[in-house]
């Protein structure tokens, strides 16, 4: 269709040239009648010039040839086509040179003009696009604006494909995905995953079932293309070279805006998170300070009293002083639980990993909970030469303390709390076994939930229901897994912690 149109346009130009020569011949004939001139041939320069300027080289050459032929009509014998004279050959040569030179010049001027005009139009279109997407607050608006401008430019339906938030490649914005055949999807995902992003614009024509599809993508250095345009063309004809260039420019503008939007969102989030962190820290610190400072007074004073000679000498008084100390110690543990739970809930838990001996962590936990484990027998079986682990030791220590104290709380005095450490299939497994009432099915399921307290449990037992939930989060923050089983009522509980053993490195101490 387009080709027919081009051919007809070219034929019309040749016809116009011929007509111009005819007109010049008529004019020459009239002039010769009025003024007998020797060189009518100069008149024929006019149709050659006109053809060269407006219709191009071919029509101009035709005009030159026709002019020479017509010119011979005016020589003796008049009106007899006779091209033998030297003058005629000279005319033909001059006309041809004029035709070539002028058509070249005119062609170049026309091309420049066309470029200037189309460049201006392109700038105007890009500006319109950038105006539309500059106010976009979310990616969807950018997709829609780019798609609308592209289909207006290309006069064809355009689908935009993108990978969004880690989701697989899909049609974005309001573009329809159903018109896109699988080959185009394959091509697009190959562009995304080819890992040759340094290769800048990619344009590919895909022809299938009498339809063709132009796939355009523009990749930043080392980055996959943010947007891929699939242009749906009817028939074999794709967009012109200029249109493809402009399509790429629009894609670039779209993907730049997407980047900016991402950056803006990330910045906002970071600012908000920082503010939240600050507020939480202020709150945490003030809670810690306001509750713990008076508690320090109570605990300090009670322990000072217990050791004062006149009180230490009377067992009833020293018992009372010790009771105050123990209870304030317990209250402090509850405050610690609450603070830990706040950290867990706020998601502020960033483990500081370092190489540690698991036995050091366990010993630390045992030492710090020694007082609350004082009425139980603790039976430990270490494995020899456990590997070093990479942990946030204070977090794991606190988790172990919570588990040990939970075991002590719910089991009878003088019962055994057994602890064992094993190394198997890339993990260190810590088992804490008690001889308590065991777990119901509901307990097993929910005992690590925040605020859960077993129904069967003694109501007199003080607790916040946060200890085990905190332990779970602390263990998981260290890439560990915690679980609990029971062999049934009154058969005890077994808590198991699995911590990953990092790939071993050969350490040469270079000693001796």
């Amino acid at each position: 269709m387009r080709r027919d149109f081009e051919l007809r346009k070219r034929l019309r130009r040749y016809a116009q040239s011929a007509l111009a020569v005819l007109a010049a011949t008529a004019l020459a004939a009239m002039i010769v009648k009025l003024l007998p001139l020797l060189h009518v041939s100069t008149i024929f320069i006019v149709p050659v010039l006109v053809s060269a300027m407006w219709w191009g080289l071919g029509p101009a050459l035709l005009a030159a040839a026709l002019s020479v032929m017509m010119g011979t009509l005016f020589y003796t014998p008049r009106f007899s086509f006779h091209v033998a004279e030297t003058a005629d050959i000279l005319d033909l040569a001059i006309f041809s040179i004029v035709a070539v030179v002028i058509s070249r010049l005119a062609g170049r001027a026309r091309e420049q003009m066309r470029r200037a005009l189309s460049g201006e139009a392109e700038v105007r279109r890009l500006y319109a696009l950038s105006r539309d997407i500059s106010s976009a607050a979310e990616p969807g608006e950018i997709y829609d604006a780019v798609a609308a401008h592209l289909s207006r430019l290309l006069h064809r339906p355009v689908a935009l494909l993108a990978e969004e938030n880690g989701q697989p490649l899909r049609a974005v914005g309001s573009t329809a995905a159903e018109d896109i055949p699988p080959v185009v999807w394959e091509m697009a995902s190959r562009l995304l995953h080819s890992h040759q992003y340094g290769v800048r614009p990619v344009t590919e024509m895909i022809r299938q079932d009498g339809q063709s599809y132009l796939v355009c993508a523009l990749a930043e250095q080392n980055q996959p293309p943010a947007l891929i345009a699939a242009v749906i063309c009817e028939g074999e004809e794709g967009p012109s070279q200029d249109e493809v260039g402009e399509t790429l420019a629009m894609l670039e503008q779209g993907s730049k805006s997407l980047t900016r939007l991402g950056v803006v969102q990330a910045l906002d989030e970071r600012r908000l998170r920082k503010r939240t962190d600050e507020l939480r820290d202020i709150l945490l610190n003030s809670v810690a300070h306001e509750l713990r400072t008076p508690l320090s007074g109570v605990l300090g004073a009670a322990t000072a009293l217990a050791d004062a000679p006149c009180i230490a000498g009377d067992w009833r008084l020293s018992n009372l002083a010790r009771l105050i100390a123990e209870e304030s110690d317990r209250l402090n543990a509850v405050i610690q639980d609450a603070l830990d739970a706040t950290r867990v809930r706020s998601g502020a838990l960033v483990p500081r990993l370092e190489w540690v001996e698991i036995s050091d962590v366990l010993n630390g936990a045992l030492e710090r909970s020694a007082q609350r484990l004082g009425r139980h027998r603790v039976d430990i079986s270490f494995m020899s030469h456990p590997p070093l682990l990479r942990l946030d030791a204070p977090l794991v220590e606190q988790a172990l303390i919570n588990i040990l104290e939970n075991a002590a709380k719910y089991t009878p005095e003088q019962s055994v709390i057994g602890i064992s450490i094993r190394h198997e299939d890339g993990h260190i497994t810590l088992q804490i076994v008690d001889e308590g009432p065991g777990l119901s099915d509901q307990d097993t399921e929910r005992m690590f939930d925040m605020g859960y307290r077993g129904e069967s449990q003694n109501d007199a037992v003080l607790g916040t229901g946060m200890g085990l939930a905190v332990a779970k989060v602390f263990i998981e923050a260290n890439s560990g897994v915690i679980s609990a089983q029971s062999r049934g009522a009154d058969k005890g509980t077994q808590v198991e912690i699995r911590l990953p053993v990092p790939p071993s490195r050969i350490i040469v101490l270079n000693d001796d």
Binding site: N285, A288, H289, R292, T293, P294, L295, S296, G297, V298, L299, G300, A301, T303, A304, A306, D307, A308, A325, E326, S328, D329, N332, Q336, R352, E354, W355, V356, E357, S359, D360, V361, N363, G364, E367, R368, A370, Q371, G374, I380, F382, S384, L388, D392, A393, P394, E397, R505, I507, L509, D511, D512
Partner: protein
């Protein structure tokens, strides 16, 4: 209260805390000075050269850590820092600034007194490099570089000895990972705690009776190590 008792400067902005510390220390025959700000604390410290400073970090006119920094190196005063925040990184920072110990509130008076005694003794007579340090069945003869356990000689590698030497010279005080790495490897740029862990494991196997439950080289999780001083209570003894 005798005039001859050691002088303790309490710098804390909470009057209740000052009352508690004053009573607790006076009961054990210490003399007490009190200050509520960084400024008055520094003045009192310079004027009276106390044997020990008990320092709360949160002071109305600034960070108590300034005082630790000012006293680093030139003063005979030991410094024990009190904080309500249990934060290992903060502990490391203060120890490396020059604090002798770090106690988290709430604390038991007996524990604080025990720690105070250790700090003051270390400051009163710094361990001379030719001393013989004893802890339990372990004896470390620093001058002759000899270590014995239950009277039997223990063979240590040079790095193991350097580690034990550093801990013995600061017996009772926590040395941070960085400080120990520097002591043992010098400026060799070893920054990996993994090396230290392995060296400590090897040393414990040689000098501890039960190296899985060490009694001499005590781990302070997230902070460092210290050599136990037998006068020092373990935490649960004090409660």
């Amino acid at each position: 209260m005798t005039k001859q008792g050691p002088l303790v400067l309490v710098i804390d902005d909470e009057p209740q805390m000052r009352r508690l510390l004053t009573a607790g220390f006076e009961l054990q025959n210490y003399r007490i000075l009190q200050a509520g700000t960084v400024k008055s604390g520094l003045e009192a410290a310079i004027l009276h050269s106390p044997d020990l400073i008990i320092l709360d970090l949160a002071l109305p006119d600034g960070d108590g850590a300034q005082i630790v920094e000012r006293f680093r190196g030139w003063s005979g005063s030991g410094v024990i820092v009190l904080s309500v925040i249990k934060d290992e990184a903060e502990k490391v920072r203060l120890l490396e600034l020059g604090a002798d110990d770090y106690v988290t509130k709430p604390f038991s008076m007996a524990e604080l007194l025990a720690r105070a005694k250790v700090v003051m003794r270390r400051h009163a007579r710094a361990v001379s490099p030719d001393a013989v340090i004893g802890v339990g069945s372990l004896k470390v003869d620093l001058a002759n570089r000899q270590v014995t356990r239950n009277g039997r000689a223990v063979q240590l590698s040079p790095k193991e000895f350097r580690l034990l030497n550093a801990l013995a010279l600061n017996q009772g005080k926590v040395l941070t990972h960085n400080q120990l790495l520097k002591e043992v490897w010098g400026g060799a740029g070893v920054e990996d705690v993994q090396y230290l862990r392995i060296l400590v494991r090897k040393l414990r196997q040689k000098i501890e009776d039960d190296f899985e439950r060490p009694a001499y080289i005590i781990t302070e999780l997230g902070v460092g190590y210290r050599l136990r001083n037998l006068e020092q209570h373990s935490r649960h003894d004090a409660g």
